[in-house]
Symmetry: C2
Subunit: 338 residues, 2 copies
């Protein structure tokens, strides 16, 4: 009942000139190179993922099963000169996977062409139908949830890095995506913020079902319990995830909730306290296992002292997942749950 | 942008034999007698609200503007022999208002007839379109939110009783409905649990907009922060409501979350603590102003001692809103916020 995509992919980059608008495609190519057959670019593109350039027909012949719309698009609309590529993809037998505001079904004729070709137009903002209300029933296996001091503080990156580190060590683990980019990267997941509020914790239960006792679901977080707009999503995801452990994600130097004037970000300790207070409703043994901080905004030479200070304050490993890696977090998780 | 109904009403009771399945109609007739023109019953009905019996045409002539489907219906389906009444209502120029699973639009011909007659088929489970993300911006006026130890512990009743007590005392107050029955009673509101989770706190902001400084919105609560299925709804409603005060609602004798084996209900003190911890994200001055308990399940003679004990524990007025009334709560609110 999760959203599921057909890998491997052709990554469609349009004629996007700016790589900063191609974060989704960059993320997929970085985290799932084995899922990427090729890229397809229109004249004028300024993005190169280092993949072979193929047309939809060539990519399909090489094994691709989905075209992934991997760039932001202009103002959320489908640029007219990109549309022929979408028809080519459908004709080549590829599903088309897109996210925010792309409105594939509103492109005249595309839905009919897809139906005729037996392929799907997949809007990954759309949650699966018939999601259940959360039951709160305890599931087998272990779960690790990312929680943030705000949105866009590195929750997805941290979860992907931790899952990769676990798998690299031979542990039994899966990344579980809760947002658009994460779903495209991992090929499945749950667009949790698009779920009707009555079913949010149920959707989170569906996302991380019963599993082997030694298995870890490493779950991408959403929002923040301190976010005046999105905390409901955060809480429902946490209750349904029943996390055994959580990692606090933060961006160094940020002090206010972005875009919400007057809203102070919590301290790491405050966030741990509120997360435990709420999380123990569905898992009485919930605990923080570490902190993951994006320190790229700090002046050179300050990182180590900054991470050390926070680590001392909370008595847990505190890393920058890019600069230092998440090894110390996974060490601590292994020790804590052995 | 809230759901809005056209009063006054004709209450449709079908041939429902059992008054316990007519709670919505009973609630409307009890709390809003001025909104009720008449009742309409089919042969076999066992329910009498004490209103004049009128056909849709008679009720319309007497001023009714909506037919309210005020009974549960059989298994959520529309009984076939009730359908002619719906067409009669549409022909008489009445909107039809219905809730759970009534599927008015699936009755062949009814939507067309409604369009032709210029009336609406209103499914009050359906949230307004284009709800915003919550902004967290502080609004003028005062807000009082009901919070529960579980679902179905008297939050709607308590809110209605408090709003009525305030209005009877000449205070400036409105009941704000967040669920189906509440919306039918008050003629408007927000079906908060049907809102997509990203927009729950925004929907709650829409429900209690800026108001006069001395005005109270008395807001019906939903779910419980301790509920493994519905806490996300509860939190989003609270964050968007930015309550200055909250009333804890409880049913005496209940110890477990109903329908969720293994889930213990919180103590009143635990619920106050978790509510303040979360609520202060959007209102740093949030405080509990009292406790409202349904003691109907207690043996005779135990009520007074029970309420006194809890009141002493939390240091706040503790009432049964039916047996004692909510006067002590409103006294305390007036004193606290003068």
């Amino acid at each position: 009942m999760q959203v599921e995509l057909k890998a491997p992919y052709l990554l469609f980059l349009g004629d996007e000139p700016d790589v900063s608008h191609a974060k989704t495609a960059v993320g997929i190519a970085h985290w799932r190179p084995e899922s990427c057959v090729a890229q397809f670019r229109l004249p004028g593109s300024g993005v190169d993922l280092g993949l072979p350039d193929m047309t939809p027909a060539e990519a399909a012949a090489a094994g691709a099963r989905s075209l992934i719309w991997g760039v932001a698009g202009v103002g959320g609309k489908v640029p007219k000169h990109w549309i022929p590529t979408l028809f080519d993809a459908v004709d080549a037998g590829l599903d088309i996977v897109a996210g925010t505001h792309s409105s594939l079904t509103r492109i005249p004729g595309l839905a009919d062409a897809a139906e005729k070709a037996g392929v799907s137009l997949i809007d990954i903002r759309k949650p699966p139908a018939d999601l259940p209300v959360g039951t709160g029933v305890k599931r087998s296996g272990r779960r690790l949830l990312m929680v943030g001091t705000d949105c866009v503080v590195g929750k997805k990156f941290s979860a992907l890095a931790i899952a990769k580190e676990m798998i690299d060590r031979g542990m039994n683990a899966d990344f579980r995506a809760t947002g658009q980019t994460g779903i495209m990267i991992s090929g499945g997941g749950m667009p949790i913020d698009a779920v009707v509020s009555d079913f949010v914790s149920g959707a989170a239960e569906v996302l991380s079902p019963d599993n082997a006792d030694d298995h870890w679901d490493v779950i991408e977080g959403q929002g923040s319990l301190y976010h005046p707009g999105y905390a409901a999503v955060t809480l429902g995801l946490m209750h349904g995830s029943q996390p055994d452990g959580f990692v606090v994600c933060h961006e160094a130097g940020r002090t206010m909730i972005e875009g919400f004037p007057g809203y102070r970000m919590p301290s790491i300790s405050e966030l741990i306290e509120l997360t435990v207070a709420n999380g123990r409703v569905t898992n009485s043994n919930i605990r923080c296992v570490g902190v993951s901080i994006n320190t790229s905004g700090l002046p050179d030479g300050e990182r180590e002292g900054y991470l050390g200070k926070i680590g001392d304050e909370v008595g847990l490993p505190c890393v920058d997942p890019v600069a230092i890696g998440v090894g110390p977090l996974v060490d601590h998780i292994v020790k804590t749950f052995k």
